[in-house]
C-alpha cells in the first residue's frame, strides 16, 4: 500500500537511527586506525591540520535558504582528506579510510563543542550525514578496486601525464559522497517532518546542487594542490569556498528577513482587530504541516506558508471587522471579496504572484473542481480547510478536545462539497500526530 510505504521513514524513526549508525562507523574507524601499522610522524602532522580545519568548518556552519544547516568548509576538507595521496612532490601518505574517518570525527566533535557550550542545539543527524559522506568518499577513493584490482589511490601514478583524469575521478567520488549525504539528510527530514521520502530527496538535491558543485570542486582542488604545495594548500584553496559561503549566507539572510516581513504583514489584520490573536500564524503552521504531509516541495510549501500568513489581508479593506474575524462564518460572497482584495494587495508587490493566485481561490468551495471543472490550487484547498478548523476551534484552551471534535464533525459535513476530502484526511493525520506528541509530553 502506498500509504504504508511513504510512512516508512517516520515509522522507523530514521532520524534517530542515523546518529547511532554513524557513531558505530566512527568507532569502527577508530578501532581500525588503532589496529593498523604505526603511522609516520609526518602523517600525524597532516592529519592534525585537517582535524583543525574540519573543526573550524564545523564552527562556521551556515544555514541554507530554506532552513537546512550545513558546514561546507568542513565537508570540503573532509573530502580532501579522503582523497589526499601525495603531500609535497616526493611524499606519499600511508593512512587508510579508517584513519580518515577517525580524524574527521575528531574534528567534527571538536567543532560541535562551542555550540554545546553555548547550549545552542546541534543537529546530530546532519553531523552524522556529513561523517558518513566522508567515510564513503574515503572508501571509494582508497579501497574500492576500479581497474585491475587497484583503487583510485594507486592509479594516480599511471595518470601522472593526464592529471585531468585524476581531477575528474575526484569530482566523481565527491559527487557520490555528496549524494550519500543528501540521501541521509532526506531520510532524516522525511522521518522528522512526516514527508514522503522521494519529495525530501528531490528537495535536498535541488537545494544542495549549487553548493554541492562548489564543494566537490573545492575538495578536488585541495587534494590536487597538495602535491605541489604541501599541506599549505588546505587553507589556501578553501578561499574560493569561503567566498561562496559568504554569498550564500547573505542570500539566506535576506530570505529570513523576507519571511519576517511577511509575518509582520500577516499581523496587520490582528492589530487592526480583524482577526483573533495569532490566527494567521496558526493557520500557516497547520497548512504547512498538511502540505508537507501531502508531499509538497519546499518551494510550494514556502508559497503555501506565505499565502496562509496573508490569507486574511483582504479584510484590511473592509470598513468594519467581521465579528471574531472568522471568515468561515461570513457570507460566501463576502468571503470571495476578501479573497480577491487580498490577492489584489499581494499582487501589487509584483513578486508574489504565486501567492496571489493561491489567495484568490482560497474561498472557493471544492465542488467547483468537480462541477465546473475549475482548477483550484492544492494550496488554496489546504488553506480553506486549515482556516475553517482554526475558526471553529479558536484559541480557547478550555474544552479544547470537545471543540476539536465538533470542528472535525462540522468540516466533515462539508466534505466533498466545501472541502477536498484528501486535504481533510491530511488535516486529521496532522492533528492526530500533534495529539500524540501532546499526549506523550
Amino acid at each position: 500500500m502506498r500509504l504504508g510505504l511513504r510512512d516508512l521513514p517516520s515509522r522507523l524513526r530514521l532520524h534517530r537511527w542515523l546518529p547511532v549508525v554513524s557513531i558505530a562507523v566512527a568507532a569502527g574507524a577508530v578501532a581500525a586506525a588503532i589496529a593498523s601499522p604505526r603511522l609516520p610522524l609526518q602523517d600525524w602532522g597532516i592529519l592534525a591540520v585537517f582535524a583543525v580545519v574540519i573543526a573550524v568548518g564545523e564552527v562556521n556552519r551556515i544555514v541554507l535558504p530554506g532552513g537546512r544547516e550545513t558546514a561546507p568548509m568542513s565537508l570540503a576538507a573532509g573530502y580532501a582528506l579522503a582523497m589526499t595521496w601525495d603531500v609535497g612532490e616526493d611524499y606519499r601518505v600511508s593512512f587508510g579510510a579508517g584513519v580518515v574517518v577517525a580524524t574527521t570525527s575528531v574534528g567534527m566533535l571538536a567543532g560541535a563543542v562551542p555550540a554545546l557550550i553555548r547550549r545552542s542545539p546541534v543537529r546530530a543527524d546532519d553531523l552524522a550525514a556529513r561523517l558518513l559522506s566522508v567515510a564513503v568518499a574515503a572508501l571509494l577513493f582508497r579501497h574500492l578496486s576500479v581497474w585491475e584490482g587497484q583503487p583510485l589511490l594507486t592509479l594516480q601514478d599511471d595518470w601522472a601525464s593526464t592529471r585531468w583524469v585524476t581531477a575528474i575521478s575526484m569530482v566523481l567520488v565527491s559527487g557520490v559522497a555528496l549524494f550519500v549525504q543528501s540521501f541521509c539528510v532526506a531520510m532524516a527530514t522525511a522521518s522528522r517532518d512526516h514527508r514522503p521520502f522521494w519529495r525530501s530527496l528531490v528537495d535536498e538535491v535541488r537545494q544542495g546542487a549549487g553548493l554541492g558543485a562548489a564543494l566537490a570542486a573545492s575538495g578536488t582542488l585541495i587534494a590536487l594542490a597538495e602535491r605541489p604545495m604541501g599541506i599549505v594548500a588546505l587553507p589556501v584553496f578553501l578561499v574560493p569556498l569561503v567566498l561562496t559561503q559568504f554569498a550564500i549566507r547573505r542570500f539566506a539572510g535576506i530570505r529570513e528577513t523576507y519571511g519576517q516581513t511577511i509575518r509582520a504583514l500577516s499581523r496587520l489584520t490582528e492589530i487592526g482587530g480583524y482577526t483573533r490573536r495569532d490566527h494567521p500564524a496558526r493557520v500557516a503552521a497547520l497548512s504547512v504541516a498538511m502540505g508537507r504531509d501531502l508531499g509538497m516541495s519546499d518551494r510550494d510549501a514556502l508559497d503555501l506558508e506565505y499565502a496562509a500568513l496573508l490569507h486574511d489581508i483582504g479584510q484590511v479593506a473592509l470598513r468594519e471587522p467581521i465579528p471574531g474575524g472568522a471568515t468561515m462564518m461570513a457570507a460566501p460572497a463576502d468571503q470571495d471579496r476578501i479573497a480577491r482584495d487580498g490577492a489584489g494587495i499581494v499582487r501589487q508587490t509584483g513578486v508574489l504572484d504565486h501567492v496571489a493566485v493561491i489567495l484568490a481561490s482560497q474561498a472557493k468551495p471544492y465542488r467547483h473542481v468537480r462541477e465546473l471543472g475549475e482548477d483550484l490550487p492544492l494550496a488554496s484547498r489546504i488553506i480553506k480547510v486549515a482556516n475553517a478548523y482554526d475558526d471553529l476551534v479558536g484559541e480557547a484552551r478550555a474544552r479544547r478536545a470537545r471543540k476539536h471534535t465538533a470542528a472535525i464533525e462540522r468540516i466533515h459535513l462539508g466534505l466533498g462539497y466545501e472541502y477536498d476530502p484528501r486535504v481533510v484526511e491530511a488535516l486529521i493525520r496532522v492533528l492526530d500526530r500533534r495529539a500524540a506528541v501532546v499526549g506523550a509530553g
Partner: protein, 455 residues
Amino acid sequence: MLVLGLLSSVVRERDVGSNITFSFLSIIIISSAVLIGPVGSALVGAISMAFDRGGRSAVARLFNASMAGLQGAVGGLVYLAVGGANLAQVHGAGVLIMRVGLPLMVADVVQMLINALLLAGIVRLSSGVPPRRFLVQMITNSGVAYIGYGVIGFLFLILWVPADVGPFSAILILAPLFVARWAFVQYGEEQRAHERTLSALVTAVETKDPNAAGHSARIARLAEWMAEPLSMGTQEVQALRYAAMLHDVGKIGVPTRVLRRPRPLSLVDLEALTRHSSLGVKVVRDIEFLSGCLDGIRHHHERWDGLGYPDGLAGDEIPLISRVIAVADAFDALTTDRAERPALTPTQALKQIEQRRGRQFDPHVVAALATVVDRHERPLTTATEEELEQMRGYLDHDDPIAWEHVWTAAPRSRPVVPRPEPATAGPQRHGGDQNGDETPRIPDESAVAEQVRAP
C-alpha cells in the same frame, strides 16, 4: 586562455544588485600575464573584450579592448620586472608564494591602477567629473575585488602548471565562484522583492485611508533629502528612509470609521487616532533589520517642547529620525490639496513650519528643510474636484494647522501636559519593548465625551 577569455566575457554580468561585481575576465588576464607572458596576455585581453556582447558603441568597444590589451601587456611586463619566476621551474610552497604569488600581486595592483586611471581619464573627457575623486572612488570600490582576482589567479596557476591539471583547472577554480555569483544574484533579486513587499505593506494600510495615498513614499523621499544637510551617516539614513516609509502603518489599528469620519471628531476618536504611532511599532517590531527604526516610528509625533504624543519627550530626547519625519510629515501635509484649502506652495508651507520652530519642530531640522526646499523641486499634491468633494471634513492628523484647530477648539482643552510614566520615561526607552497598547495622554479626561468642533 583565449577560449576562457571569450567565455568569461560572455558570462559577464555587471549588475547583481549589491555593488558586488565579478569579472572573470580580470582573473583570466592576470593569469595569462604569468602563464604566457606580456604579448599573449595582451592578445587574450584585447580579443576577449572585443567580442564582449552588450549594445555598446564601436568606440566604447575599441576603448575597452585596447584597455584590456594594455592591462595584459603591462601586467606581464611587471611580473617579469619584479622577478616573477617561470612556473614550471619552481617547486615547494614557500618558493611558489614568494616567486610567483608576490610578483603576481604586484602585477595585479598595477593592472588595477591602469584600469582606474584610464577610466578616470575617459570619464573626465566625456563628462568632466574631477579625475581625482573618481580615482579614489574606483579604487575603494574595486580594490578588494582586484585583490581577490589576484588570489584566485594565483590558485588557478598553481593548479594549471605545478599540479599539472592544465585547462581543466579552470572548471575546478571557477565552480565555487560561479556558485557564489549565483548566490549574489539571488540575493539581489530577493532584496528587490523584499523592498517591494515592504512598500506593499504600506499600500495595504493606505487603502484604509485613501486620502493619505502616496503620503508615505513622498515622506521617505523628502526625509532622505533632508538627511544630507543634517549630515547623517549611511546607516542612519537607511533607518530614516524605512522609518519614514512605515511611520503611519499603525493606522491599521485605527478603526476605519475614525479615519474616514468627517469632522467634528470626538476626543475618543482623536485618542484612537493618536494611538497610531505606537501601534506602528507593534506591526514591524519583529522585523529584525528594522530594529533601528522602531523608536523613529514611535516618536514621530513628539513635539520639541514636549507636548506631543505618545510619550511627551522633548528636545534631544526625541530621536533625530523622528524629528526629521515630524518636519517632513507636516511639510507634505501642507503641500497637499485639502477640501478646506488648496495646497500651500513650498515657500508658504516652509513659512508655516518656521513659525512653529522651537515649539513643535527642531530648529536644526527646520533649517535642513529650508535647504531642501531651496535645492529640490517638489510638486504639490493636487486633487481633482471629485476627490476634494470626497475628503470634505477629513482631518489630516499630520497637518499642523488643522490639528491645532481641532486641539485648541476642544472645550476646556489646554496644552497637553506630559505626565511622565516612571516605569517607561526617559529618552533611552526602546519602542519595541513596549507593547504599544497604552493610551496616549489626552488633554482632559472629563472632556472625553465632548465633541471637538472643527473651524
